[in-house]
Symmetry: C2
Subunit: 489 residues, 2 copies
């Protein structure tokens, strides 16, 4: 992709970056670089040669142009919470970190949009506008620490994306620094722009097409009313049937989450909500929002559908405090899984909603065959599974076996007509599974775009596409272990 | 973009196509080609050398591969109702018409999706699934005659796209024949697929990236309840304020349409609804859908907001018959404009909703300055204007003057932070206005994609991009006159 005749003179290069960004804008000391050797997928590790910290679009452009001139591969990094290794540095690369680009540049309530720098933390947006009755919808579980720039790169989802759509549905426009260092505008301030939808193309491109330096986001009005329904079931099949029946009734919940028995018990062991019956085979959490009258009616119907599909108990929370109580266990589920087992491997796959019970059955069979327990906590409404494979990393060979189990789960998802990634992206981690979903011809159409926008391949090499490296040939072995401290639900 | 040393031997070429498509799959007789010399924008005219009518993906692929081999430019055409000249043939080109690709291939109610061939007419989809309680949301006004393939090419909108989004929000996956004749899959059967969003890129690419031969669409559940609110106002400002206030109240109507005094009188002259007061300066039609309880509440609120913003009368229709009565005038508006004046020029531009009154005032000033009456009928909820400039084509020079007025309107839209196209596409008609919205650098990012997917430039040349030809250098003079019989509201 790139070729340097001799090893780059990083001391000299650091000076060049300092000329652009100042001394404080460049990090070169080994112990400081350690922070940046991985993102939320901590088992892939590679220190970059340099970390640079621009503050403005122009500084990003100058930094990228310098990389282009010197043929240095570079990787953009937001808050580093990504779970697919999308911000994994290359050896001898420059890591461009947006941590100093944390300004909310403009808020326009009349047109319901906000312009932010990429380093702005996801939930700062909602905090900034909630007083005026607005919010920003996509809510990855890491929203208190992840950045909007990273959300754009990975097209992040979240609990409330069932009703409101993922990041791409909320990005109106972007200022982008292209891999040659030039600055361009994609989209604008209104939803539909003429010409190709290059904004939509950029969102989810995982840093391979450039770096977004200003991001125009849609704002939504805060819902008048919110209710949460918690139902418990004596079988996964019944809970799955309730999910299907709610959807078939034409109801679009804000979020619809499921947890299985293993997760329920883990949660009750750790946070003791008292709300999730330990003998339930599945619980369903359904959040409904809208006007008072609408929420009252929809809540009544969801409750009824749950009863009709064999719910054993149904609890409804309307005030904020009770809602938080019902959500508490779900929000603690991943942390709780850490108490079931020394380590766990979190997978992210999608299946058609109608095949929930069937695929969960296959995952259970896989668990029994492999001998590894698998807890299931997931976005049931959009069929986005997050199986947690429990293991002990101190036992030789378990990690490798668990990785295989994770791969089998993805293959089950694809076989069911689903996807190898719901909301965490492909990054470095899953690129070897891309041929499970796409033929070479399908991938070629994406590569044509990458090669046109990123002709030297300097922008985030080794991500998304299975080539040039084939799986297992990476410089770092994919050890998919959760990064401590990053919420992943 | 392409070069042929000698003029193509069309007799020989026709034989080659017949070998693929059979004799009935190729049209060469001059009088039959006449039908295909323009689309809904009848003032651009150019006969193709050949029309070919494939029936399957494989036949399309063979036909396109033949064009590629012989370096023949080709243009895809659906039902030919487009209003921007997107299906305008080139001289010496092959027109690939999807009129024989009219099969609904698969319906999956459980997963709420349908797979269709591109020639399927828009409202056939809803007709096919309405018995089971579903519908296909995007509803261009030409929906009884326009095709899904054309909708995909132009990313068509419609009255109900305010709440549900335009075509791109409803396309899950595509089988595409690329300009080299190869077949590829974009997207799939679930909403979020990994890798670049090439499905979103293709939708709205106006035939320049290939031809969609199978299209997977989302189905929505039919709303339980629908209501229509008709309010009339003594000023455009008041109606515009009501639109803003409805949105600010967090209400998302299914559709929100406005008509001005000139349109109201045209409609009452022609269809005599009796519902639209002739002395009103503006009427607002707001459609609300959802659960019974929700619609009742939202209707109450919209009614109240209209009163608070100076409505003179407010009428609510809940049953289907009364709703149709309130809509009747709006649906007849474009046809009625034809009774105000021998000819009219329909424009399609977008402005931020907050600037409705201001821009309509500027359009009124432009009308007075130019001496041409301008009627306004439009999708107020998303700021998508459709000004109708009234003129007489039999008077020498009027068409040219009116085209200038149309161009001025687009410039007003751009100045207000809007767009030169809301839902009709750029096509051949508006490509010279693209530099009003985009810098060369912005357009380059789109061209990189075009050139990567369509390297010889054979797929639909002369569309979207202002170059290689500059404006006014086209082979056919842009005379933007409505094609009789094509509904355009």
């Amino acid at each position: 992709m790139f070729s340097t005749q001799t090893s780059p003179n990083w001391k000299r290069i650091a000076k060049d970056f300092e000329a652009i960004l100042g001394e404080k804008g460049v990090i070169r000391r080994k112990e400081e670089l350690l922070t940046y050797e991985c993102d939320g997928l901590a088992s892939y590790r590679q220190k970059p040669a340099l970390v640079v910290l621009p503050r403005t679009t122009e500084e990003v452009a100058e930094a990228v142009a310098l990389c282009d001139r010197l043929n240095l591969p570079w990787v953009a990094r937001g808050a580093g919470t990504g779970l697919s290794g999308g911000a994994l540095p290359e050896a001898d690369s420059v890591l461009i970190v947006t941590a100093l680009m944390r300004k909310i540049l403009d808020i326009d309530y009349d047109n319901q949009r906000v312009i932010v720098q990429p380093g702005v933390i996801n939930n700062w947006v909602t905090q900034a506008v909630s007083g005026a009755g607005f919010y920003y919808a996509p809510d990855p579980s890491s929203q208190i620490i992840c950045s909007i720039g990273g959300n754009v790169a990975e097209n992040s989802g979240g609990v409330h994306c069932l009703k409101y759509g993922v990041t791409t549905n909320h990005v109106l426009g972007l200022t982008v620094v292209l891999p040659d260092g030039s600055i361009t505008q994609l989209g604008g301030e209104i939803p539909e722009m003429p010409g190709y939808d290059v904004t939509g193309l950029f969102v989810g491109s995982e840093g391979t097409l450039g770096i977004a330096t200003e991001i125009t986001l849609k704002l939504l009005k805060t819902a008048e009313s919110i209710a949460v329904v918690l139902a418990d079931f004596t079988s996964i099949e019944a809970a799955g049937a309730a999910v299907g029946a709610i959807t078939s009734a034409g109801i679009v919940p804000a979020g619809m989450e499921m947890m299985d028995n293993l997760s329920i018990n883990a949660v009750e062991d750790v946070v003791a909500t008292g709300c999730y019956p330990r003998d339930a085979q599945a619980i369903l959490l359904v959040e409904l929002d809208g006007l008072d009258a609408e929420v009252a009616e929809v809540t009544r119907r969801v409750t009824q559908v749950c009863w009709e599909n064999g719910a054993r108990t149904v609890t409804v929370a309307e005030d904020a405090e009770t809602r938080a109580k019902l959500w508490k266990g779900r929000k603690a589920a991943f942390a709780a899984a850490g108490h079931l087992s020394p380590d766990y491997y979190v997978q992210d796959g999608v299946i058609p909603r109608t095949r929930l019970a069937e695929v969960l059955g296959e995952i259970e069979a896989l668990s029994q065959r492999s001998g590894y327990r698998i807890a299931n906590v997931f976005h049931a409404g959009d069929g986005n599974l997050h199986p947690l494979v429990l293991y002990d990393n101190s036992v030789e060979g378990q990690l490798e076996e668990v990785e295989e189990v994770g791969g089998e789960i993805l293959k089950l998802c694809v076989k069911a007509g689903g996807s190898i990634s719901g909301e965490h992206g492909i990054g470095a981690d899953k690129r070897c599974y891309m041929p499970e979903m796409f033929t070479d011809a399908d991938l070629d159409t994406m590569k044509w775009v990458r090669d046109a926008w990123n002709p030297k391949g300097l922008a985030n090499p080794g991500k998304i596409f299975p080539t040039p490296r084939t799986c297992g040939e990476g410089a770092v072995h994919p050890k998919a272990k959760a990064y401590p401290g990053v919420p992943q639900f």
